[in-house]
């Protein structure tokens, strides 16, 4: 059975905003998420740290190390695009192993710095806590 993929309301709002500011990018991110939900090959790769590093695949998976070290099961997906940098968004998601659920928590611009004191980071952590996903 393929795990569930849910979009947190904050990430849904990110996508609504993106649909206004960059409709083509929103269509690409949404289509990828839509397909990930239905394709075990894609969804199984979402917990494979460094999957696709060096452009060996079409996207790169990475733990959010700073948060991971604090026990948060939070990841980031970056799509390798051609031409390079043509899709500027990153997908931030968490995994709840008890429910076998992926939760997309944010869709951020590549300029996002992943700093702990950033408002978006705080928003992501609040969403994580609200969902009751365990920390390790």
């Amino acid at each position: 059975m393929i795990p569930s993929l849910l979009i947190h309301q904050d990430a849904a709002q990110d996508l609504r905003d993106l649909m206004v500011s960059d409709r083509a990018a929103a269509g690409m991110v949404l289509a990828l998420l839509e397909q990930a939900k239905h394709d075990s090959t894609v969804i199984d790769s979402l917990l494979d740290h460094d999957f696709g590093a060096g452009r060996t695949e079409d996207y790169h998976i990475s733990r959010w190390w700073d948060l991971w070290r604090s026990g948060y099961n939070i990841w980031r997906l970056k799509i390798w695009t051609v031409p390079k940098g043509s899709l500027k968004q990153r997908i931030v998601y968490a995994y709840d192993p008890t429910q076998r659920e992926y939760h997309v928590l944010a869709v951020v611009h590549r300029d996002f710095d992943y700093k702990r004191d950033h408002a978006v980071t705080n928003r992501i952590l609040q969403a994580y806590r609200d969902l009751g996903i365990a920390r390790y």
Binding site: L6, I7, R23, L30, H38, D39, A127, D130
Partner: protein, 155 residues
Amino acid sequence: MQSQTEFFKPTGTLALPVTKVGDMAVSVGATSAPVFFYAEVKLPAKSAKSVSVDIDDLVAEFQSKSAANAKAMSKGRQWVAETFYKDRPNLAQLRLKKGWSQLELAQKASTSQSYVARLEQGKVDPQMSTVRKIAEALEVSIEVFAEALLLEAKP
């Protein structure tokens, strides 16, 4: 798990001496004394369903809002086909190249989205009549469709 501590103002006084409340010893004199209640309330996690939306529902929301959104979604799926399925000419690739969701293919082939999903996962062995309907919807030959199905067929 979220934890929230709430403090309350004294709500009254105890007129009688109390030596023990629960596991906590309380020393209260014979005269009236203010009583403070301390409660630690562990709020349950918010249900994922209450704060989340299924991706299919979100896509439906966007597509229903404007033709431009629907076109962006269609182009997004074609990009997914070209980017993520370029080396996997399976049923998903055939569908995505058309810019269609599973539901859209299902509607065009007079079947259900769940059936298309299972077909793409290689979990069903379709009847010939179904193969013909879906191949026609996708505008591919039965041979091309069969080859695409075999790529995902589970032993």
